[in-house]
């Protein structure tokens, strides 16, 4: 277990994350109070239930071990988020996962004259429910999982957890502009994956149905 992760308070505070520290820090109280929220965040970061359970357990254990520090914390959810992020990274390192995609550059091919090398088309609107909506959801979750840790964290914190850019950038110890670049490239990667999905869908349809 990561004994040396940074646990400096992230100084993140917003209505999204504000909460009081409970009187009792018994395991049952912690699980009841924070378990579900940590699990959902961990599940989005780790990508599967087993790892999410391990991350949740490790996060709460760290909270027990550092109870006095936690009691003095004015922003308990910020503190918890940071530990959850660290534990999720730790479990990613331990698992022999396939290498993440590289997003060091803008994930859009550009020609020498500055024009894109690719003709984009608007996507169809994704339906709210039904088999197609489920397929889109699966594809997007897969695309999120293949992002490098820091990029996945940016998408999870802002687009799924609803944190503001300043909140998320503080949690990830990034300057705001660096954080925005990371989030933007991650979204573009997801866009590219969703484009492949819609192209496959169009390939499956009978020719007469194509626009």
């Amino acid at each position: 277990m990561g004994c040396c992760v940074s646990l400096a308070p992230p100084e993140v505070s917003s209505p999204t994350m504000a909460a009081d520290v409970p009187e009792s820090l018994a395991p049952a109280t912690l699980v009841e109070r924070y378990g579900e929220r940590i699990f959902r965040l961990a599940r989005r970061l780790a990508g599967n239930d087993t790892d999410a359970e391990d991350v949740t357990q490790a996060t709460l254990l760290k909270l027990l071990q550092r109870a006095s520090e936690f009691r003095g914390e004015s922003d308990p959810f910020g503190w918890i988020y940071r530990i959850t992020l660290n534990e999720a990274r730790e479990i990613h390192r331990r698992r022999a996962r396939r290498p993440a995609v590289s997003l060091d550059a803008l994930p859009l091919a550009v020609q020498e004259d500055g024009h894109f090398a690719h003709a984009f088309r608007p996507f169809p609107s994704t339906p709210d429910r039904g088999p197609l909506a489920q397929e889109v959801e699966v594809r997007v979750r897969e695309a999120i999982e293949e992002l490098p840790d820091g990029y996945r964290e940016a998408v999870v914190l802002v687009d799924l957890e609803g944190l503001s850019y300043p909140e998320a950038s503080k949690l990830l110890d990034l300057h705001l502009n660096a954080f925005k670049t990371r989030l933007h490239r991650a979204r573009l990667h997801l866009r590219n994956r969703l484009e492949s999905f819609w192209n496959e869908q169009e390939g499956r349809r009978p020719q007469g149905d194509r626009p």
Partner: protein, 81 residues
């Protein structure tokens, strides 16, 4: 000043958020006026953000919280500092 498609690709998020400078916003709008390809890119980018915002939280597996509590009770209070 004109922006290239590459410049637009770099600035899409800030443009959507309304945090691009007024001057750059105007340049980007001028580019979009002339470039249907970048309009399509912007539309598809918007759709991705919409899909992400609607992504449902996963259900907790049955018994997950009980298992976590049990492991904490076994590993936590007595063995920790």
């Amino acid at each position: 000043m004109t922006l290239s498609c590459r410049d637009v690709g770099d600035r899409l998020m800030l443009f959507r958020d309304g945090t691009l400078s007024p001057k750059e916003t105007e340049w980007l709008r001028q580019h979009l006026h002339l470039c249907p390809n970048c309009i399509s890119l912007l539309d598809s980018y918007d759709e991705v953000v919409r899909v992400l915002e609607r992504l449902k939280p996963v259900d907790l597996p049955p018994g997950a919280l009980d298992r976590i509590r049990q492991r904490l009770e076994e590993d936590g209070p007595s063995s920790c500092c």
